[in-house]
Symmetry: C2
Subunit: 371 residues, 2 copies
């Protein structure tokens, strides 16, 4: 039977972290639980939605070790609302949990910890080490390009590829590709590895990571699983099986026209154009490119817009149409003051990429009727 | 044909105000529009959902007067996203609207202003005058007690009653009553008047009012309509017909037990208890009142809670059960550090009221099985 004292703040931080692995809807009630475990002098909470499992240390003082599974949402709600920072948790042989803080006393029923599905295990080889900030950024700067549809499982994940001391992360959905490169401070060489990580895992991971440039995350890659370890927290996720798309073949170095835009100015203009586009229809935003800049225009059933925008241009004049939302996603993921757009013709993909080779955003054009 | 120059900021403020009278769903397309009107040297926007109409001055420079009805949401989205503060709006004989700001140019289609349903008129007698802050507060402090159900139309509105220089506002839903009193700085006596104002009108009005104690609102009460006038904005609403409930007969001065609680302490404790209550079930929060304070407890299918809370008590010991959400609503609407709860027995209503007579919150008790 458990008998533990916690700091509410530290317990809540751990609970909030593992809640990401509690599914909102499930037919298996045990998945709605988190496991509270005091063993070998350390206290942890854990949740597992069968795709991803998260375990996090809570700190605390152990009077008596043990384990219990409790409804994650109810437990989290109770702890969050307790009046004082000192929290006392006890369980009895009937799996009843008592929670006490100052004058406030709660009881709730638990399930046996033996019913809980534990963390998947993987052979821990040499880890890849990154700052939490870098990992969070490369996820956030690419994740929007995964596909929301389950039709092609591989498109719902991201490629994570390590070669030498270079990490490459890529996502694509059939209309666009987002690629980010990051140099790792690896002391020893690591064997090249390439895996596909579920998008949901990376989205959740990004929300848990502190975004602190001074804090590290260790990544262990196994045959079927990937493990992220940081700040007393362990995230283990299944990998998506298969070989990823050959993205190198999709990317070309050739272009006919090169345009340098002020990123914010271009982004604001494109955002304005989407006022005239409802979710369901796919009206292209047309770039009419001439010396000195571009005229952006969009016409829908709701109305029309037209705006001149300056750009440094090299190469031929051309007209090309894009889905404005894809451009917005890419431009928001870049922090540079200026961006460079490379075009070939109205039917070839456009690229936004930087000189340093840290990002490439490829977007397929949309057919349009020129007026 | 209209030809106008606006400050985007001022135009947006007026548009945001009248948007409250644009219904989200309607079978009458003209109701989704707002009317832009330049007449007699002043420019206004107006919307009307047939229950409530709002007109607001926009400022601006008139080159040519006229009127047009345009889709409210689209117009609002375009104006909000324009790049510069100076906005130029023109219409042509085909009811096409052109909107220009810096290098950005939009067009959208409008409807004839003649199709628009104008503001209801009412005989303006002597107004009642209040500060915007006072009106906003008395609405917010009572509106939660109206009924969400349309079964009894009168319960969906609030009583506004003026006698001498006293304004009384009341709301009830069959389980509780909320009453607020406010002294007005009326110079001359006004004829006593008592009307029922739709809850939706008051909710919207509260969001438009600035909450500035130094700014006034004039209220004109007609036979079928009420008009609120402030800051260049006019809100006209239908009244709910009928005679309101006789609330004076529901309120008693007698009690057996009087309890003085620290409001925040009591509120936090009651909020904690609702963790164990799902929306659908109605578990009572039981007060077991003895000398020195009360023990609050609640048991549901999810678990149980118990908490001791101090109170200055006069009168007999008793047990009584309440819907915790009704207590929370009342306690949040009060800003006093201490509140006084008056009880008679476990089947009689409880009252929270202050000595100065500015508020009364009556709550019916709930049956409970004492353990």
């Amino acid at each position: 039977m458990l008998d533990l004292f916690f700091s509410k703040a530290k317990l809540m931080q751990a609970v909030n972290t593992v809640m990401k692995a509690v599914p909102t809807r499930t037919s298996l009630p045990i998945l709605e639980c988190l496991l509270l475990e005091a063993k070998n002098g350390s206290v942890t909470v854990m949740a597992n939605d069968m795709e991803m499992a998260i375990r996090s240390e809570t700190g605390g003082t152990i009077i008596s070790e043990g384990t219990i599974a409790v409804d994650a949402k109810l437990f989290s709600d109770i702890i969050r609302n307790l009046p004082e920072d000192e929290v006392h948790i006890k369980t009895d042989s009937n799996l009843q949990m008592e929670i006490t803080s100052a004058d406030s006393y709660f009881t709730m029923s638990g399930k046996s910890g033996d019913d809980f599905i534990g963390m998947p295990t993987l052979d821990k080889g040499m880890p890849v080490t990154l700052s939490q900030l870098t990992l969070k950024e490369i996820i956030d700067q690419t994740i929007f390009s995964i596909s929301a549809s389950e039709n092609n499982k591989m498109m719902t994940g991201e490629l994570m590829e390590i070669k030498g001391n270079m990490l490459r992360v890529a996502a694509l959905d059939g209309h666009r590709i987002a690629i980010r490169y990051s140099v790792m401070n690896q002391e020893e060489d690591i064997e090249p590895v390439s895996v596909i990580v579920p998008g949901k895992t990376l989205n959740d991971l990004s929300r848990i990571l502190s975004g602190d440039a001074g804090k590290l995350v260790n990544i262990y890659i196994g045959k079927n699983h990937i493990l992220f370890s940081f700040d007393g927290t362990t995230v283990v996720s299944r990998l998506i099986e298969g070989e990823y798309f050959r993205i190198d073949q999709m990317i070309s170095e050739n272009y006919e026209t090169k345009l340098v835009f002020n990123r914010k100015r271009l982004l604001n203009c494109i955002e304005r154009s989407t006022i005239l586009v409802r979710e369901s229809d796919k009206k292209p935003l047309i770039f009419d490119i001439k010396n000195g800049g571009a005229t952006l225009s969009l016409t829908s059933i709701m109305g029309s817009m037209k705006e001149e925008i300056e750009a440094e241009k090299e190469g031929i004049d051309l007209m090309i149409g894009f889905n404005p939302r894809f451009l917005i996603d890419a431009l928001r993921a870049i922090s540079d003051e200026k961006i460079t757009l490379y075009l070939t013709n109205s039917r070839a993909p456009g690229f936004i990429r930087d000189e340093q080779g840290t990002y490439i955003y490829l977007i397929l054009p949309v057919n349009f009727v020129s007026r």
